[in-house]
Amino acid sequence: MATTSQVRVSQRSERKLITLDRSLDVLAIVVLSIGAVLMAMPFAWMFSTSLRPFGESYKLPPAWLPTEWHWENYAAVFQSNVPFLTFAYNSVKVTLITTIGQLLTCSMAGFAFARLRFPGREVLFVLLLAAMMVPGQVTIIPVFIIMRTLGLLDSHWALILPGLTSVFGVFLLRQFFLTMPQDLIDAAKMDGASVWATFFKIALPLASPVLSALAILTFNGTWNNYFGPYIFLNSWEKMTLPLGVTALRGFMASGSPSIVMACVTMTILPVLLVFLFAQRWFIEGVTQTGLKG
């Protein structure tokens, strides 16, 4: 009876819905584009300011894109009495040792909690997870006293030692090793491989995506760490980049924010490069943490 008109009506409303859908798609792109420009503006200002000649750093209206290319601001960072290269070396050293250490300890513990049977395994694991809830700032005073007793204040070990393992990393790897097929382990056992060999030759290579994600998260966290160095370090030659650059920003500026921005640009650049090349692992790292929650 009314079917044809009903069909026509529903077709019309369908078409209307599709047009609405299309326009919402376009609207989303427009809004996201405006937002993306706003997001990028602080970095654009940073870069264009880093290339301004002395005395024009505060130029208003701000030029978002560099108009002149005064690279001498970058040279000035190295020529000033700010030990920028020393900071960079310290940061690389602390970050590398921490990251490698964490990969090793976390994958070992993760493997044991997932694949090796020993009495007390579950209890120990739950206790570790509970430790994940404790913020570092709560334990900082006793840790400071420990470092002082060990004579490690103002040394890189004060930063490295507490970072050599992480509950988060153990958790991440345990979850991964739980999904590893048991057959692979059994086969290795049949061939007479030791636990150590099974771990190194079979489990670790399989875990490389998770290890990359953990490596990048740890690298980034350590590279950007400010709180630890702020508490433990006080001599210039020991400082890492975030602490050094912050401590010296007034000193470096000496009237020219351009030099400070040149310095900040150089410290952000490695992060940008690593991100562009390894974006997949970054995103995997974050989403893995997200989905496990």
Partner: protein, 307 residues
Amino acid sequence: MAKVQAPSLTRRWLANDRQREAVAGYLFILPTLIGYLVFVIGPIIAAVGISFTQYDMLSPAKFVGFDNYINLFKDPRVWTVYGNTVFFTVLAVSLNVGIGLILAVMINRKMPDFLKYIFRTTYFFPVLVALVYSSIIWQFLYQKDTGVFNYYLSLLNIEAIPWLSGRQWVLPSIIIMDVWKNTGFAMLVFLAGLQNIPQVYYEAAQIDGANRWHLFRYVTLPLITPTLFFNMIIFMIGALQVFDSIMVLTGGGPGDASRSIVMYITEKAFQSFEMGYASAVAITLFIVIMLMTLLQFRVGQSWVHYE
């Protein structure tokens, strides 16, 4: 192989496979276990102990019972810094998570792949930059006389805003920067959550005559509640410990107007060397974080939808 060799004493001792596996297990977790005993478990117990003493690291600790805790409640600065921290946490968590969700829903719409890539990259990148560097940049942008923000406001005939020097402005300014810096993390987690929703749910709902709003309200929203919950917990725990950005942007000023609880703890511990008092404040922060997390989990049971 092992069978061919003459079994050594230790070998025989460990002959049992299970025993060998257990020993290997303990050895594998040993580094992590030591790390946690020395740098987490031990310090927690020690922090509780120190909080009942008066200790300046030069003379031996003196037991004072609950004095630190009693003084803490009478210390007006504790109330100020807690107030600041809670204000920061409530706004930073809702804005970061809310805007992150909106961004993710928009990016998840139909659009060319390269646009998706560009948006994802642009919104996520600030997450990777150290807070202290973002703060250095924003400090210049926020300057009252020479800053970029006030310049644009002046074009609109709006009076210069004391972003970092006005008592009412300073915390909102720090929150704005925090959202710029961190909302990309929430976005990325939401994107993963959205992409995990099976397409069949939408198709089934559409067959039942659901419109777009219904789809969002009755399919998308319930199915991303676990992701929403995760984001809220992560952002809340992080916000309650805010430190880096405020240190660089304002150093806690003007006065105590932007000082956070962690800044107060470090000031008491490492500048005035009141280790006992600082530990007591730190313990209260720990308790607050635990309670808030437990509360979230409890309340979460009523609205988080697990499949």
